[in-house]
């Protein structure tokens, strides 16, 4: 099993009230603007975050995962490849897992060059991962959301070709055009670095991953729809002629680990700070025009006009925000997220028990531990990492061995043969 650490590297020196009163949204804090950023504090945070990743390597984790979001204090990795380049130099062993570069907002030729440089500098430790990007990334980068899926597909095919087809060649595509493709710096890993795709259980993406034999990493999603997606992946894999296994699946788990339950409860509240991921951007920025497929728009039309689900979303969008009321709802969200297992909170012993449940239910070969969000001191972050590395990680390895959960570096994804019947074996629901 591949176990990696993750955090959003948030710029957390932003008051929760400011996030909430800004339409309950981190993205584009309109009521304070980017003048709220203090470069001295930013400098300190970047260095601490790098040191945490060196520490994760020392503790024995297999990878350090980064991600990218633009124009928001939610995540300081607005150009994640810059951070990845630093990590390529200052770490020695861990995989540098990028989940992921938002392809539709990137210049794919430049991206092919950046990622190749990181792979070469790191000595072949890069795991690139690609996303369509949250809807708000389309707005932050002015990339037409109506062509988001088309651009994703075309950029993906282009980057792979740039890495594998000797140059120079000319490229005249639909959305991208290059007179001269000859990137020179090519990845160290051949034919190209292994690609993993993160997602939030969009069936279109899951099908695409299975077709490409790319591991699919679900990001903190509810367990039932995630299991449905694992089964969907396995069905598509069968059609493609292979048996899916744990090496095809990953899961990112938020986890607040501390010496005592009380301390863990205090730290875990950071995951819903300002509304947590639910408040990442205003709904109309998460679903910009044309970003969704027609089927997804139909689903959204039902949800957004249903008074039970839509009223609250629309109210936030139209400017009436009661800060105290939102805080109360955030606190109850914190409780229900723990009950649903979306946030694991506790001492190492508690965390191990809950992770076992997750691993039994999902059977992932990749596990990301999102160990910090919201305001949290460097000392607390180091302590959490230490507990996760010294106490939780060995237990995860034991459980993975017991359950038979190889990661993608132990079993190459897409190489497991189908049973003689041609029908795939079940991939989840094995242990009960």
């Amino acid at each position: 099993m591949h176990v990696m650490t993750f955090s959003e590297r948030p710029y957390f020196h932003v008051r929760e009230d400011d996030i909430i009163s800004n339409q309950n949204s981190y993205f584009g804090l309109a009521n304070m603007g980017d003048t709220g950023f203090d470069p001295a504090k930013g400098h300190q945070l970047y260095h601490e975050y790098f040191d945490e990743r060196i520490y994760a390597e020392e503790l024995g984790f297999d990878g350090v995962m980064l991600n990218e979001h633009h124009q928001t204090p939610f995540c300081m990795g607005s150009v994640m490849d810059v951070e990845a380049a630093v990590l390529a130099r200052i770490t020695k062993r861990v995989k540098i897992v990028l989940l992921g570069n938002p392809l539709p907002v990137a210049d794919p030729l430049r991206l092919a060059e950046e990622l190749a440089m990181i792979d070469v500098i790191s000595g072949g430790r890069l795991v690139p991962g690609w996303v369509r990007g949250a809807g708000s990334e389309s707005i932050a980068n002015n990339a037409n959301p109506a062509f988001n899926r088309e651009r994703f597909n075309e950029a993906h095919d282009f980057v792979i070709k740039a890495w594998t087809t000797p140059g120079p060649w000319r490229y005249e595509g639909e959305h991208y055009h290059y007179r001269f493709v000859n990137p020179w710096i090519l990845p160290m890993q051949k034919p190209h670095p292994p690609i993993w795709i993160p997602g939030i259980v969009s069936p279109e993406t899951v099908v695409w991953c299975a077709e490409h034999r790319y591991p699919y990493v679900a990001l903190c999603t509810n367990i039932e729809p995630t299991i449905e997606m694992v089964n969907l992946y396995a069905d598509v894999a069968e059609r493609m002629g292979y048996q899916a296994g744990p090496e095809n699946f990953g899961y990112l788990q938020t986890i607040a680990c501390a010496e005592t339950e009380e301390k863990a409860q205090q730290l875990g509240r950071g995951f819903v700070y300002g509304g947590g991921f639910g408040s990442f951007a205003r709904p109309e920025w998460m679903f910009p025009p044309g970003y969704n497929s027609k089927a997804a728009t139909k689903r959204l039309a039902k949800a957004m006009t249903d008074p039970r689900t839509g009223a609250e979303i629309i109210r936030f969008s139209e400017g009436e925000v009661d800060v105290e009321q939102v805080k109360a709802s955030i606190n109850s969200q914190y409780q229900s997220s723990q009950e649903q297992g979306l946030i694991i909170v506790g001492t190492p012993k508690t965390c191990i028990e809950k992770l076992r449940n997750l691993m039994e239910a999902l059977r992932p070969g990749i596990l990301g531990l999102w160990y910090h969000h919201g305001p949290m001191s460097y000392e607390d972050r180091r302590t959490s990492l230490r507990l996760l590395g010294q106490e939780v990680l060995p237990a995860i390895r034991e459980i993975a061995k017991e359950l038979g959960l190889p990661g993608p570096f132990e079993q190459t994804p897409g190489t497991r043969p189908l049973p003689a019947s041609g029908k795939h074996d079940p991939v989840v629901g094995l242990s009960a």
Partner: protein
């Protein structure tokens, strides 16, 4: 005499189907709808339809007209509509364009002013306003965009009749489709063609009326003034206490001037 109503029919343009709402009797008038789609049969339609036949195509990708994948900008759409007029033998025709529809009409006039007998642009996008900016429909909900389109909602009962009350899934979906299609053709630069003011120099001998609300918060009046300056011989009608929807906010004045101009 009964109030004339619009009826849907399908026109064939090459290999494409276009849904057209048609109603009234008399000389035809082409009506090009705005960026949130065909708003439905309005009171001003009924008034004008007493003396004129209204032809209201739903743009490709909007309403019931299927998307045409190769249409990627407003100039493409203008050429597509030129083909519709040519194949249907409709040119020259009077045209009234609203907001995005006004931009389409202006592009058509630039290509060939002889397609039209009269051109009326109402709060048209298409030009970068010298002062202010065109309100960005893509960073707000469809409803928020509509709410900012009229000057005084309380004084505009037709607005409440059209857009008030709970939103239905069908309406949400229709607006999302319209927003997606508008993004396909007008995402960047947002809602204008940088060369249009220069190209409008070629629109000669086409009687043109520009109608603008003085308090238009979607397309600032300065854009209307630049249209006026760029189209030789054009007239500019500015309505006070009026936003982006003169046809529903100031219907009597709008209809009177329109009928007089088209006569």
């Amino acid at each position: 005499m009964a109030t004339p109503e619009g009826k849907e029919q399908t026109l064939r343009v090459g290999e494409y189907d276009v849904t057209v709402v048609q109603g009234g009797s008399g000389q035809p008038v082409l009506v090009l709808h705005e960026e949130l789609g065909d708003p439905g049969w309005l009171q001003w339609h009924s008034e004008l339809a007493r003396s004129r036949t209204l032809i209201i195509p739903q743009h490709p990708g909007f309403g019931k007209t299927p998307q045409i994948k190769w249409l990627r900008n407003v100039r493409d759409l203008a050429c597509f509509y030129a083909r519709l007029l040519r194949e249907q033998g409709m040119a020259p025709i009077d045209v009234v364009g609203f907001s995005l529809g006004g931009w389409i009409a202006a592009e058509m006039a630039v290509n060939d002013p002889k397609q039209f007998r009269h051109m009326v642009l109402v709060g048209a996008t298409g030009i970068k306003p010298p002062e202010g900016e065109i309100a960005d429909m893509f960073t707000v909900t469809a409803r928020a965009y509509l709410n900012s389109s009229v000057y005084d909602q309380k004084a505009t009962p037709e607005f409440a009749a059209l857009y008030g009350g709970a939103q239905t899934p069908e309406q949400f979906e229709a607006w999302e489709d319209a927003r997606a299609e508008t993004a396909r053709i007008a995402w960047q630069p947002y809602m204008y063609n940088p060369s249009l003011p220069q190209l409008l120099e070629g629109v000669r001998g086409l009687p043109t009326l520009l109608i603008w609300g003085r308090q238009d918060r979607i397309v600032p009046l300065s854009a209307g003034e630049l249209y006026h300056k760029s189209i030789a011989g054009s007239e500019l009608m500015v309505l006070d206490r009026c936003g982006h929807r003169p046809e529903i906010e100031k219907r009597p004045e709008f209809c009177e001037r329109l009928q007089r101009f088209l006569a």
